[in-house]
């Protein structure tokens, strides 16, 4: 089985690095972007199997990124998991509506995130219906 590729979009470089090391250690290939514009260009170029997306990004928020990705042929179907420090009470539903399969608030438990990633990347399609916080 070929390695799955995950794009991490986060403007906090430390978080990005930590997450990248964790994902590589779990056998994933990792691409990264630190702002909205590069998120879209890297997504088009790398065509990842999954995007982990932060919401507060320079150059347009995560919601703008999601909308752009949905409207581009090559990226429209890439699954997205939102990982943000923002309050779920006001952002979780918005993220789901924008097409994200799940919303995790930072700091997210490693096991929870990895389980969600595994689900999205193949076996089950139902991850969006679950609430990862519970």
């Amino acid at each position: 089985m070929s390695q799955k590729k995950i794009l991490i979009v986060d403007d906090d470089k430390d978080t990005l690095l930590g997450l990248a090391i964790r994902l590589k250690a779990n056998g994933y290939q990792v691409a990264s972007a630190v702002d909205a514009v590069s998120a879209i260009s890297v997504a088009r170029k790398e065509e990842p199997d999954l995007i982990l997306l932060d919401l507060g990004l320079p150059g347009g928020g995560g919601f703008v990124v999601m909308e752009r990705l949905r409207n581009l042929m090559s990226t429209a179907t890439i699954p997205i998991i939102v990982v943000s420090a923002r309050d779920p009470q006001s952002n979780k539903e918005l993220a789901h509506k924008a097409g994200a399969l799940a919303f995790f608030q930072k700091p997210v438990d490693n096991d929870l995130l990895l389980t969600a990633i595994r689900k999205v990347l193949g076996q089950h399609a139902a991850v969006g219906q679950e609430d990862p916080e519970r």
């Binding site: 906090d12 930590g18 700091p107 089950h124 139902a126 519970r134």
Partner: protein, 525 residues
């Protein structure tokens, strides 16, 4: 000079008194008062709402309403309009009471003269304006505080995330092998990350509660499981203080309608407090049972045999930032928000929280959560779909014999797979996978309600059936699911019929069907 005219509404049943007031206002030589008179409270309330006067003069003795009752009704109708109450010579006590219930001033009939009346009216209007302004400022400040704390908690989470990530990377050996001491120290660091995270969340929650923005996401929850899972996470903490936690959970406890994350938070707060404020070797009992007086609630109690609280302390424990101090309780760790938040969370569920305690008597905290009813679950769907007619399909998924013989973990796995498939097959806004209505028993059947007609129900049942047949977990355990459906026709309701009536009726019929299926399955099984 041309002051704007001030509209005065007088509610007074005695025509003589009314005339007197009219004359006094005329006497002031001040033409800025425009007086309207109503003889009964009912007429007065209508005028109050319709004409929005600048000030209301309210007689406390009216044919259709007496005393402070009149004041309360007027304030309810138009909270922003200042009110001056009028009383007789012998009833100043009632007038003073009126001030504490929101009247701006009072005038004693027979002791009023023109100048005084004019001034009282103007002062009342001005005071009310200031009161409202202060209230508005207070609210604005609360909102600013909420925004600020939202921002702060957001900003704190980023560095916390990095700390968590790198600490766990090292702890998981991704930066080389660790010796036991390094492992222990990192574990302590991580434990504190978790505490910091809880504190950040608590600050935000407490502020939310203050500005009335606390939201919960209730659903059907089995309380027994919730209690066990919550306590599982607290075992280590309890063991460190050599504290024993016992549980008593009524076997026939119905499911509750609660936000599981929040219910767990309340219970965690109570048990953590019990551990924290009792001496080494204490005993804690967590009990879940029907709430004696009220069949619509379930009650959870956290009982400890610690030192208990004085009446003074007990009265304040649910206050914001209160901490039971004292030199012998070593730790003042934490923000003192736990019980305040717990109270807010329980109230957001419609439940109650209270404490029974006394010095040397231990502390017993109780809270209640509403029992799950199908009506709770169906209401949002029926309301959103304006489903006054048409039909609702009840799809039944029976799990056959073989599955009943499985060991519990495998059984749980099968159930989870079936739930996964169901969630995948339904439309989230319109259809519903019903929670286990008998959480004390193993689940034999799953139910789905779908807003659809016969054709739609057939399609959906077929889809569920096909997907279950393709599910590996079921095949591996030799489980053969049976899928069937029936229609619940919604009788045509008049447009104005209250929605609760419709919801109650539909929920009742579905409940009957579900119960019948469960009984049938029991007899066969």
């Amino acid at each position: 000079m041309s002051d704007p005219q001030l509209k005065v509404l007088l509610v007074e049943d005695n025509p003589g008194d009314a005339r007197l007031i009219r004359e006094m206002l005329a006497e002031t030589g001040d033409s800025t008062f425009d007086l309207t008179v109503a003889g009964r409270l009912s007429a007065g309330l209508e005028l109050l709402a319709a004409s929005q006067p600048d000030v209301l003069l309210l007689d406390l003795s009216l044919p259709d309403s007496q005393g402070l009752e009149s004041l309360a009704r007027a304030r309810l109708r138009s909270p922003a309009v200042p009110i001056i109450v009028l009383t007789g010579l012998d009833d100043e006590a009632a007038a003073l009471k009126a001030l504490s219930e929101g009247a701006q001033d009072y005038l004693v009939k027979g002791r009023v003269e023109g100048d005084l009346l004019g001034r009282a009216l103007r002062y009342a209007i001005e005071r009310q304006r200031l009161t409202l302004e202060v209230e508005q400022q207070r609210r604005r400040q609360m909102e600013l505080k909420d925004e600020f704390l939202s921002h702060v908690s957001h900003e704190l989470r980023s560095p916390l995330t990095a700390i968590y990530q790198f600490a766990t990377l090292v702890l998981d050996g991704l930066a080389g092998k660790l010796n036991p001491q390094q492992r222990e120290y990192l574990g302590i660091a991580l434990h504190n990350v978790q505490q910091l995270r809880t504190m950040i969340e608590d600050i935000l929650l407490a502020t939310r509660a203050e500005v009335g923005k606390l939201q919960i996401e209730p659903r059907g929850v089995g309380l027994g499981d919730l209690v066990h899972h919550t306590l599982e996470a607290l075992r280590i903490q309890a063991a460190e203080k050599n504290t024993a936690i016992e549980t008593q959970i009524s076997p026939d406890l119905p499911a509750v309608y609660a936000d599981p994350k929040r219910a767990r938070q309340v219970l965690t707060n109570l048990v953590e407090n019990a551990i924290k404020y009792t001496p080494e070797g204490a005993r804690i009992l967590v009990r879940a049972e029907a709430a004696g007086k009220d069949p619509e609630f379930v009650q959870v109690a956290v009982i400890d045999n610690g030192p208990g609280l004085s009446p003074d302390q007990a009265a304040r424990v649910f206050d914001r930032l209160y901490q039971a101090g004292g030199s012998d309780t070593a730790s003042r760790k934490g923000l003192g928000l736990g019980l305040f938040i717990s109270k807010q969370l329980v109230q957001a569920h419609g439940g109650r929280i209270w404490l029974e305690t006394g010095p040397e008597k231990g502390s017993s905290f109780f809270f209640t959560l509403p029992v799950l009813s199908l009506a709770h679950l169906l209401e949002p769907i029926l309301v959103a779909k304006r489903l006054k007619k048409g039909s609702l399909a009840l799809i039944t998924i029976g799990l056959a014999q073989d599955e009943a013989g499985l060991p519990p973990p495998a059984r749980q796995k099968v159930l989870e797979s079936v739930q996964d498939v169901l969630r995948h097959c339904i439309r989230p806004e319109m259809d519903l996978v019903l929670p286990n209505m008998r959480p004390a028993e193993p689940e034999r059947m799953l139910f789905v309600t779908a807003c659809t007609d016969r054709g739609g129900a057939e399609l959906m049942a077929a889809r569920i059936s096909n997907q279950l047949a393709a599910c590996d977990d079921l095949r591996a355990t030799g489980t053969t699911p049976r899928v069937a459906f029936e229609l619940v026709e919604l009788r045509s309701h008049p447009e104005e019929a209250p929605v609760e009536q419709l919801v109650g009726e539909v929920a009742g019929r579905i409940q009957q069907l579900v119960e019948a299926h469960l009984r049938e399955a029991e007899e066969v099984g």
